[in-house]
């Protein structure tokens, strides 16, 4: 396993479309739920333990070799908001392009063939990790970290938040993210034994509701 491959995949500059998404931060800023570093941290903590845990579990399961088509259905079932499903598939498609360029693999080609308009992003991420010679824990780390780094980066732009404050929020959340990764990897192993329903289905209703409203805004900086 290559540690450096993990850094390539987790790099914020990895060209997979994430820069255009705020992970719900834009809607939360507008609603007054994120106003500074403190509320950003609370928002990220909530997202980490819900959407982040689910995404990390799906990615870990895909990296472990569970059927990606079944995992994609599981992702649909765990994403009530059509806007978020759409965003996840678009990001999955963008990640697929970068992944196939970086780590060509038959499994990625097969999933791209199955979902030409994009499979869910965490599923693609799990398969990308496999193609890069990485494991379930690495894939889960990427997802868990992305679930908080996206909103933090977006909030720097949305609120002109001090970037050092935003980075401190991420650093403070790191031990919790490690915990979520452990839960996700355990769940993926359980799903391998007991079936995909063993994956967590935590949900953050406000993220889902806000995403629907946000998708209808006429003026916005971020795609989601």
């Amino acid at each position: 396993m290559s540690r450096t491959a993990l850094l390539v995949l987790a790099d914020g500059r990895f060209p997979a479309g994430g820069h255009a998404h705020s992970g719900g931060a834009e809607a939360a800023v507008k609603a007054g739920r994120i106003t500074g570093a403190g509320s950003l941290e609370e928002f990220c903590r909530g997202r980490l333990h819900t959407a982040g845990l689910v995404a990390a579990s799906l990615a870990a399961a895909a990296a472990l070799g569970l059927d990606p088509v079944e995992l994609d259905r599981a992702a649909d079932a765990r994403t009530p908001s059509p806007a978020l499903r759409n965003a996840s598939r678009r990001l999955g498609r963008q990640l697929m392009r970068a992944a196939r360029a970086a780590w060509p693999s038959g499994e990625l080609d097969a999933l791209a063939g199955e979902f030409p308009k994009g499979a869910h992003q965490p599923v693609v991420l799990g398969l990308t990790a496999r193609a890069a010679g990485l494991g379930p824990e690495d894939a889960a780390h990427c997802c868990a970290y992305e679930s908080v780094s996206g909103p933090a980066g977006a909030t720097v732009r949305l609120l002109s938040l001090d970037p050092f404050d935003a980075t401190r929020v991420l650093a403070r959340l790191a031990p919790e993210a490690d915990l979520v990764v452990r839960q996700a990897v355990d769940a993926a192993h359980r799903a391998a034994e007991e079936g995909i329903d063993a994956l967590p289905a935590a949900s953050a209703p406000l993220l889902e509701i806000d995403a629907q409203a946000h998708a209808a805004w006429a003026v916005r900086l971020f795609a989601s």
Binding site: H19, R97, A101, F222
Partner: protein, 227 residues
Amino acid sequence: MHLDHTHSHDGPPAVSADAHRPDGRRRALRIGLGGPVGSGKTATVAALCRALRDELSLAVVTNDIYTREDAEFLLREAVLPPERITAVETGACPHTAIRDDISANLEAVEDLEDAVGPLDLILVESGGDNLTATFSKGLVDAQIFVIDVAGGDDIPRKGGPGVTTADLLVVNKTDLAPYVGSDLGRMAADAKAQRAELPVVLQSLRAEDGVGEVAAWVRGRFAAWTA
């Protein structure tokens, strides 16, 4: 995605820059239009569409910064049928979407080819940005940088990647030069000094066939692409 192609010695080209579609046909020529806010990129795209739509199968991708205004302007002006115009959202960073992470734009051009193709030409318009914003070669085959006389006649002298390296530099709104005190001769001379042999067009879209020279340049690129 032709990962099995024989590639040149400097490694495989970006999967995205592959000149052929998965079905083997040559894909559309992609031309990027970049430049500062308000310099006339969208107006130039609209004029190009009117000039070329009867001879080429055309589509447009806009990269708005926080609205769909540019796409909506083109729709309102009815320069092309709506299914030939797509807007990409850029997350407050227009230059990222055309240079550092081109994935959303590539999907937009591919979806246009799937939906209304085969296409001859796709114009990719950047959101208004700064003088350093250039398009990735993985996204476009050639790029036009649009500045205008009212933005200051020292812009060609200041240079920067857009002014210096774009395949075509357009100095727009020449009709305004007397009103804003811009010296067109100086702009042309500075541009020439910055760009050596690369072409420069001074245009006013208010003039009869104002986009004519740029359209002729696009026709030349298309002829070379299909040769």
